[in-house]
């Protein structure tokens, strides 16, 4: 977690300013649905309603994000945050230069919010980065801090995207790692296809559709083999057959 005693920590811990952005986003969504329904009722054009509601939705989403960054900067008092422009001039602690950069704090707060609970440890790392290298005792300049904070927002989004990709691959990985699962994925399409051809065209249909059936039989096999290689999953071994005492007696 971010050090709650630091000003950056204080920002990251509160979400009062970001609430305004969300209110705008959800109001826009609501308005988009109402507008879409009204347009469809009036003109009966589904695609026109879809296009207009889409434009309203995305513009409200963009406005909401912008508001969550700009409101804490220009209206800190109204949302209950300490005013950034009235910092005491005689403050000499190391955090002071950060207190003056509202946009950096807003971006750091946005990054912390976007990163989510899985990457909560990064908040502290990002906050430490804004203080630069303590060995040189030089704080990064304003443009460098802005670049770092903007990079943190990108990092948060990319981390979340990575999480989503990992979650999406998980069931497929489990299938590739399972011998029975892979067999089922390969065999099921061809069995279904053969069943359908037999049902509709009879045995002769199997000969006339041999090329299509060949593709249906090989495509899942090659896809699974290729994806296994791509995901670096070793091919599962065939499970050993259980030998019963009766088998031994027969021999």
């Amino acid at each position: 977690m971010v050090d709650p005693h630091s000003r950056l920590g204080e920002y990251a811990m509160t979400d009062r300013g970001d609430k305004y952005g969300f209110v705008l986003i959800f109001t826009g969504m609501l308005f988009a649905f109402v507008a879409a329904t009204a347009i469809e009722l009036a003109y009966g054009s589904f695609y026109e309603a879809l296009a207009i509601s889409g434009i309203i939705f995305f513009s409200s989403f963009a406005l909401g994000l912008l508001a969550s960054v700009l409101i804490p900067i220009f209206f800190p008092k109204q949302i209950g945050r300490p005013s950034l422009r009235r910092m005491p001039a005689n403050k000499t602690d190391a955090a002071r230069p950060l207190e003056q950069t509202a946009l950096v704090r807003a971006l750091a707060g946005l990054a912390a919010m976007l990163a989510g609970s899985r990457h909560v440890h990064l908040r502290e790392a990002w906050a430490a980065d804004l203080y630069g290298d303590p060995d040189t005792a030089e704080l990064p300049n304003m443009s460098r801090r802005l670049k770092l904070a903007a990079g943190d927002v990108v990092a948060a989004l990319r981390c979340r995207l990575d999480d989503a990709v990992i979650a999406a691959w998980r069931p497929a990985d489990a299938l590739f790692a399972s011998y029975r699962g892979s067999r089922m994925a390969i065999v099921t399409p061809i069995v279904v296809a053969v069943g359908l051809v037999l049902g509709h065209e009879g045995f002769y249909g199997l000969i006339t559709n041999a090329d299509n059936l060949g593709v249906i039989a090989t495509a899942p096999y090659l896809t699974i083999k290729g994806l296994r290689k791509y995901r670096q999953i070793p091919a599962p071994k065939r499970p050993e057959r259980k030998t019963s005492p009766a088998d031994g007696a027969k021999r």
Partner: protein, 103 residues
């Protein structure tokens, strides 16, 4: 392996045990932005190529840094990356860091 990952691994491999790297230092050494560095570090950490630890004792005047170090597997990966990346030139900052750490 992408060039940013190779750059990060190279920077971590050149870091001494008494001088571990953290996010800001990595951005300076590799020339990459923090938007690229942190997703890479998260991936390397989840793959156990890198271990991370929080700076101790916690400094009073600033948030503690998150130090990254290569694990045994990470060192092997870095060596492989260096072998595979022959012909590529690294930023001058990495080369200077390498020369500076050479006794």
């Amino acid at each position: 392996m992408t060039t940013p990952i190779r750059l990060v691994l190279d920077a971590l491999a050149h870091a001494g045990p008494d001088d571990p790297l953290w996010g800001y230092k990595l951005t300076e050494l590799t020339g990459l932005g923090s938007g690229t560095i942190y997703p890479i570090m998260e991936r390397l950490e989840s793959g156990e190529f890198v271990t991370a630890r929080v700076e101790t004792p916690r400094p009073a005047d600033r948030p503690p840094r998150r130090f990254y170090e290569l694990t045994g597997t990470g060192r092997e990966l870095a060596a492989d990356a260096q072998r595979a990346g022959t012909g590529r030139t690294f930023p001058w900052s990495i080369r200077i860091a390498g020369w500076a750490s050479t006794p």
